[in-house]
Symmetry: C2
Subunit: 249 residues, 2 copies
């Protein structure tokens, strides 16, 4: 059985906050144990790490101004998106589809204005979300004696399908992919194309357990023990399909 429960009692996260300490306190009611997974909305991590920018401090480039005009967006917001992007794949329908410096393909390079106190700030993805996950895991191990699997998530839109789902942008102590290729199915046939993005499925499951108003950034998932590892592992970077193997860029 899989269970996902949102932690209550976390305050609005601010730059410089000790997120591990806050999570350890909020998780006390649940009594963390080995094999648990903590799924953390990236905004909480980004805010704690100071990964936000005041729009007033951003000077948009001519390219940002042109794209902003074309997409009906704030040129300073567009500049923030460009600063987080390695490549812009599409600019249409009010959205920039970007390859971020971390390698993720997503709308607006993960730059988001919602859930930030004051309307003049944007929140970025953590600079290295896998490193953030590893650090959070190490700190939690020191605080509570348990190194849970850590998953850092964002809501991404998809090609071909409406709506967003939460996916992994960082992880530690969690196997991001489960490889069943070559193993037999119930009929004894080799399962050929079964390579499961466990970390993304955990992200999606966790999102269903939280309220969307942003006050429940952390969800505890149980029942995924077999995906939790003692080592930190390859992180969510392993989920990125290399450009050379990608048919849709």
């Amino acid at each position: 059985m899989l269970t996902a429960v949102a932690l209550d009692g976390l305050p609005e996260i601010r730059s410089g906050d000790d997120l591990a300490e806050l999570i350890a306190t909020a998780a006390k009611a649940e009594d963390l144990r080995a094999g648990d997974v903590l799924v953390v909305a990236h905004k909480a991590v980004s805010k704690a790490e100071g990964r936000s920018r005041a729009l007033a401090s951003i000077e948009p480039s001519p390219r940002a101004k042109e794209l902003a005009h074309q997409l009906d967006k704030d040129p300073r917001h567009v500049q923030a998106v460009l600063d987080e992007s390695r490549v812009v794949l599409r600019a249409a329908r009010g959205v920039l589809i970007c390859v971020t410096h971390q390698g993720f393909v997503c709308a607006n390079a993960g730059v988001d204005a919602s859930n930030v106190a004051g309307s003049d700030t944007v929140v970025l993805l953590p600079r290295d979300p896998d490193a953030s996950a590893r650090r959070l895991r190490r700190q939690l191990r020191e605080l509570v004696g348990i190194g849970p699997g850590i998953l850092i998530t964002d809501s991404f839109g998809r090609a071909w399908r409406h709506g967003q789902i939460d996916v992994a942008v960082g992880c530690a102590g969690l196997s991001p992919l489960e490889d069943w290729r070559g193993r037999p199915d119930a009929a004894g046939r080799e399962l050929r194309a079964t390579w499961i993005a466990v970390a993304d499925q955990l992200a999606a499951a966790a999102d269903l357990a939280r309220r969307k108003d942003g006050r429940q950034p952390v969800v505890l998932v149980r029942g995924a023990e077999r995906h939790v590892m003692e080592v930190d592992g390859p992180g969510a970077a392993a989920l990125i399909r290399p450009e050379a193997e990608d048919l849709f860029r």
Copy 2:
């Protein structure tokens, strides 16, 4: 709290089986209640509906033969894929990315050879998975007095990311998308881009609760009551992004 538990005791499903009856029996231990969601792997539905084909009965066209040669696949399998496809978007790296007659964009038009007794058969997607979900819901309501939310799923690969996740191909009695656009977030700001593919997140969550050897096609999800509706609703068809709005075809 969200919980997902796989139902045990379902037999290997065969053409003509009464799937609702089999699910009702398997679900007895869990005592179905209003607001429950039953997540059913499409293969169980497809098999019960006779949506499989013997490869020996398929005569590949010249185009199927050419694609099969190019992709190193069985030409009869490729013909089955072409028969399920409205359009082939890409043919490369051993895979055909297709738009199915139902409108889904996925690898090999959802045609799959795994988990079928005997190696000479392929399983197709249900012809109308939303209709299948509605029928299953109606039959379950007659059998157990409760019309649970029904979700029919398949494992899809994604652009840009490695691995597969389960997504909704059919649903009934379940709101496939939750629209938070225009509602305020915790800071009182309008949430602008928050349109959540609840049905896909439920599909992903359910898959984490089942063994992958194919003997647990049905998962019971609780804690998603607010997404369950008395009416059957728009189905998973509502998750399909229309071609005119799609930037990646």
